[in-house]
């Protein structure tokens, strides 16, 4: 099957304008007759729900938490990129576009990324108008800081809580529409299936997490904004409830899953410190603006940091990358940290950590300035580790943080399944093989505020759909399947808990499909996970009842999907015989241990199609064509 990305022709900078002009419009009076389902209320889902309702569509919005304000976008710390060029340091839309394409190691679609860079400017305006309290200069203008992978200051921020403030902005816009009766909000609902009728997405099946009731909802279009799947690794910086179920259920109903092996490791997380650990905590990348990364020069040096003299410290990022220094992209910084630890220079009790030192910055700028910039991050670090980062250097280590892969979408953000739109981290579209810092917020909001409102109208006006209700057999069948699966999980009554399986899955993936991968390891992991999955369906124990508030049952369903999904991920990693961005295959590296792409054979998107429970998925290629940038070996030297 040929995947049609529907990228408009013409010069890059005019494509989106031209496309918007060509999209069919829905008459304002008719908009209220269209029902749209939005699943998820993060930046993408919150922004989309609000914007669509403002236009006049009838929107039903679902979220898994008790309030739409809690989606995990809230945890983004450092900032959001916008090509405003307020600091007059040479930024432009073209520049942001190029940085993002290059940062993604040339595995993203040019047209989508350019549009993202264009929208970045409007996002900042929109958010300021909503009352997002971005940091300001004394004169009252907006402040900027720099982030990894860029040599300009284009990141807008609200202390270390930028994601929270942007999300609350979207949440407030959504709340306004709920109050106006334009959005019907369903909280504590988990999407368990997608309903497809005549090859069009027409509704969803959700479980009411309070009562356990299974509910059917029909619509003219379904918009998935359900985030990424980093929790497949068990330990990640994602929230506990983040999961792949909604995306994976859509995949099983025919939507293609693109580049699942592109997962991002974030270099600045608090190191793992025990087997009981339930999640990892990120320290914003913005810390690398002022913090210097170092390890002892001599392997095995176990002296405390303050006893290691300057001459015996190795600032390996500054040495290896003189022009970007500590601000190299995330994948590069992560791999270099792992490399140092692998040769025994790691610090801390486990030896799996490197230092991030603020002593110089504190001496230069004073403690007050540093506290103003990063105070809440330092406080968080101290709470978790009981060490004061103003006095001793922070210890950091890479952790799984974000997933670039996701459901395949075309230029309209519609999947290969008609009527199914996928926004934000849940789609694959903008970050290629590696996402730059402060770009996730940008993408989520661009998709929700500025892209879907146009493209969904084009779809609704341009396609015919049958009149259906939730009485349609497709809904009944889906409900039956969902219930059968839950009853199955409850009836196994085995000897291992859900978390126990999840932890084992995560460890296997971290070892073989994490920061670096090789064919042998991947194959081993695939075998192991197959066995684990079999054991899961025979030996898991899920207490409680179906029609009740039952967190064990919720988790069991998610882990069951993770077990299945991880195999697609490994398949994808095996198939991509090159290294690019977050996917580092040890067999493909330059002399300097950088990722070595194979543009001849792998300059494409791998989109996986579900073929049945007992069959391997089938891969479809969407070739990536670069007309405006030259494919180069990434260099941050």
């Amino acid at each position: 099957m040929q995947l049609d990305s529907k990228v408009p022709g013409g010069p890059l900078s005019e494509q989106w304008d031209k496309h918007r002009c060509e999209l069919k419009l829905v008459n304002p009076a008719n908009k209220r007759k269209f029902n749209i389902i939005v699943v998820g209320t993060g930046l993408a889902g919150g922004a989309a729900s609000a914007s669509l309702a403002e236009l006049g569509y009838y929107v039903k919005t679902f979220c898994i938490q008790d309030s739409p304000r809690r989606a995990h976008s809230i945890a983004a710390q450092g900032g959001i990129n916008g090509a405003k060029n307020y600091p007059n340091d040479g930024d432009s839309i073209q520049h942001l576009f190029y940085d993002t394409i290059k940062g993604g190691d040339f595995r993203a679609r040019e047209s989508n990324v350019y549009r993202l860079a264009q929208a970045s400017v409007d996002i900042i305006d929109q958010c300021v108008a909503q009352g997002v309290p971005f940091a300001r200069e004394y004169g009252g203008l907006l402040a900027n800081r720099s982030f990894g992978g860029a040599q300009v200051s284009r990141t807008f921020y609200a202390r270390g809580q930028t994601g929270q403030q942007l999300l609350l902005g979207a949440y407030s816009a959504l709340s306004r529409q709920i109050n106006a009766g334009k959005v019907e909000m369903f909280t504590r609902r988990e999407m368990l299936d997608l309903v497809v009728i005549n090859d069009q997405a027409r509704g969803i099946i959700v479980r009411n997490l309070i009562t356990g009731e299974i509910e059917s909802h029909d619509a003219d279009a379904v918009v998935l904004c359900t985030g990424g799947y980093a929790n497949v690794f068990f330990l990640s910086t994602n929230a506990m409830a983040s999961n792949v179920t909604a995306s994976f259920r859509a995949y099983k109903k025919g939507a293609f899953f693109a580049n699942p092996c592109f997962t991002q490791i974030h270099p600045t997380c608090i190191p793992v410190h025990g087997t009981f650990q339930s999640k990892l905590t990120l320290m914003s990348e913005s810390l690398r603006n002022d913090g210097r990364v170092w390890v002892p020069k001599n392997p095995g040096d176990k002296r405390p940091a303050n006893q290691i003299p300057e001459s015996e410290r190795e600032y390996y990022l500054e040495n290896q990358y003189p022009s970007f220094g500590n601000l190299v992209p995330r994948d590069v910084a992560s791999r270099r940290a792992k490399e140092q630890c692998d040769i025994g220079k790691g610090v801390g009790e486990t030896g799996l950590a490197v230092y991030l030192d603020f002593a110089e910055a504190i001496e230069r700028d004073g403690r007050d300035i540093i506290e103003k910039k990063y105070g809440n991050l330092f406080q968080m670090y101290e709470k978790i580790t009981a060490e004061n980062p103003y006095e001793t250097p922070m210890m950091i280590y890479p952790a799984i943080h974000y997933t670039m892969g996701g459901l395949w979408v075309d230029y309209n953000l519609m999947s290969n399944l008609e009527g199914l739109f996928v926004l934000g981290e849940a789609n694959f579209s903008d970050h290629g093989a590696n996402r730059l810092g402060a770009s996730a917020l940008m993408q989520g909001l661009a998709d929700g505020y500025f892209i879907i409102p146009y493209t969904i109208g084009g779809y609704l006006a341009g396609t015919s759909r049958k009149d259906i209700t939730t009485d349609h057999p497709a809904f009944k069948d889906a409900v039956k399947m969902v219930k059968a699966r839950m009853n199955n999980l409850l009836s196994i009554k085995g000897k291992r808990t859900v978390d126990d399986f999840h932890r084992e899955l995560g460890l296997t993936l971290w070892e073989h499909c994490g920061m670096s991968r090789n064919e042998e390891g991947l194959k081993k992991a695939k075998e192991h996970i197959k066995g684990l999955q079999e054991e899961f369906w025979q030996n898991v124990t899920v207490p409680g009842r179906e029609k009740d508030f039952n967190q064990s049952l919720e988790r069991a369903g998610r882990v069951a999907d993770f077990l299945e999904f991880s195999q697609v991920m490994i398949e994808d990693a095996l198939e991509r015989k090159e290294s690019c961005g977050g996917h580092f295959n040890e067999a493909f590296q330059t002399d300097e241990n950088e990722a070595l792409r194979d543009d001849e054979n792998f300059c494409h998107v791998s989109a996986w199609e579900f073929k049945g429970d007992d069959k391997d998925p089938e891969m479809h290629k969407e070739p990536l064509v670069f007309k405006n940038v030259e494919l180069t070996q990434r260099s941050y030297k």
């Binding site: 809690r70 009352g131 009252g140 339930s278 009981a386 207490p543 064990s552």
Partner: protein, 254 residues
Amino acid sequence: MTKAINLTLKVWRQQGPDLKGRLETYDAKNISTDMSFLEMIDVVNEKITLEGKEPIAFDNDCREGICGMCGAVINGRAHGPEKGTTLCQLHMRQFSDNDIIVIEPWRAKAFKVIKDLVVDRSALDKIIQAGGYISVNTGGAQDANSILVPQETAELAMDAAACIGCGACVAACPNASAMLFTSAKISQLALLPQGKPEAARRAIAMTRVMDKLGFGNCTNERECEAECPKEISITNIARMNREYLKASFISTVQ
């Protein structure tokens, strides 16, 4: 340094909203002091699950102190004894060997218990829905730098905007009042020039809904400020009162 401690938990267990609940006792053995409080409950829950019983239900999500999903009253203190900390960021090094820890859900008429430690906080959403926003549609905004905001104002607005909506202020207030929560949003938007056009309407609408939802009244006891994990100040309540007076006596809002 990492230590292992043994604890006795007394946890509020309640099957459903209208059923009777009671404190049940559990042993938490060999708990590392590096664990977070929620990880300690995870450990206890794994044990309960393997015994074939239903684990303790509790809300949590980000586990890094920002989503506002977690929260329980620990030995009479909302989010536990550490200042400026959510329950998920509370670490077991705050406790000693053989401590008895009583864990109760948020208690307020406006927050119904759903199960065990899980409560319904949708009342807080309803307060925001009444007016906790600036009425701008997507797309109509002018350039972000066209209105100057003094740095100090932006910082004050940010102080108020840091609210995570966890409900600890309500739980800690002797009167189960939601004034700190409501005032944080009213304050943030009243401070910023973008929020001023609607300030009067917002102040009246939000406080009216707050009253209707069954929260108690503020008696300036400052327990909310003392327990708020984001250390939001009651100066915001004073600002809300000013906004309320202005809206009532100066504006034309009915």
